[in-house]
Subunit: 216 residues, 2 copies
């Protein structure tokens, strides 16, 4: 197919497709002449993936390029490779500089959970930054809450990894992992909000009704 059909099928405007081609996040089609190229189903799939990562996952274009390039790069074991892909996905817009105190809490936390971790992993930095952010905002997180979160999150990570492993090629595993991580972050945020609504309703809804009854 040519660009018009690709645009049609993926639901992405032609100028945007050209932009992605320029940026190297969508591979060029197979050239069939000086100014013609043929695109395939994999281009449609890639475009839809990019759109989802950008709009739903909120990933910057440059990161999409890095992540997809890393996925395509062959070699190494699955855990190692997965780790490399994950490192590309940004976690926090660093501007807040964590104190030593925050870094120590981050380390103590993972140690307390008995989690396997790398001391210099960006996610560890990010944890320190987030703890610092809470503290600076005047709403610090206490260790007890952190530990209760951790117990729940372990379940989540188990689900995350469960279905991914049995895909045929390691490139498919990596793409699925990247997509499910990025989109899963958003999914997760949404589910948390829904669960909060439920929890808040269970705790305070009666109260509110009594209150508005009193106000009548």
């Amino acid at each position: 197919m040519r660009i018009a059909e690709l645009s049609e099928r993926a639901g992405v405007p032609i100028p945007t497709i050209k932009y992605y081609l320029r940026e190297g996040i969508l591979p060029r089609g197979e050239p069939t002449g000086r100014n013609q190229a043929r695109y395939g189903a994999e281009h449609v799939h890639r475009l839809r993936l990019i759109r989802a990562l950008v709009t739903v996952g909120g990933l910057p274009i440059t990161t999409v390029r890095e992540v997809l390039a890393e996925v395509a790069e062959p070699g190494l074991g699955l855990h190692t490779k997965l780790g490399l892909v994950m490192r590309r996905i940004p976690l926090v817009g660093t501007d807040i500089e964590p104190e030593e105190e925050d870094r120590e809490r981050a380390l103590a936390f993972v140690a307390r959970q008995g989690w396997f971790f790398y001391e210099d992993h960006p996610a560890m930095d990010a944890l320190a930054v987030v703890l610092a952010g809470h503290r600076e905002a005047g709403h610090p997180v206490d260790d007890a809450s952190l530990d209760r979160y951790a117990a729940a999150i372990e379940q989540v990570a188990r689900v995350d990894l469960d279905r991914v492993g049995d895909l045929p090629t390691s490139e498919e595993v990596l793409e699925a992992a990247a997509a499910k991580t990025v989109l899963g972050d958003t999914l997760f945020t949404v589910l948390r909000r829904l669960a909060q609504i439920d929890e808040s309703a269970k705790r305070y809804l009666d109260e509110d009704e009594h209150r508005s009854a009193r106000e009548d």
Copy 2:
């Protein structure tokens, strides 16, 4: 204190403070003359809160204004008010239009969990959008995974609401809830990444080591 000291204590440059004043997300100081005003500790606190919401939570400035304005607005019961504050916090950059199928799955999901919900709540739309995103990206989420996520998230929401309720004034409760929701989204993402690393290590690290041993 005057602006220089405020800037110093909050760690925010003077031009940025002026910008926040213009945008109405930082209240004006008490005027002491035609071009003088006095700022207090509450301004320092507010500035730090704004910085955390923007840099760690990734909230747009306009949303910060809306959220803080909503928190300051008095009246109504706590659940109702909390709901109004939460509605201000954006969940997804809508560009993907969910299919009927996605909306139905979203509704079926909350019904299956027995969660209290509002059919037209932005979080319900967001869930449909996220499900659509996964599907369009070629990595749909199955109901079984969704349900397992839900079980874990219920725990999280319980922790979220546990410590907030016993603050003295309802404005404090609301600010805390808003801050912990926004910053908590980021915290959560980071914890998930750390838990994924642990889970991936537990599953694949041995494999990787054997593999690199074979490659020696």
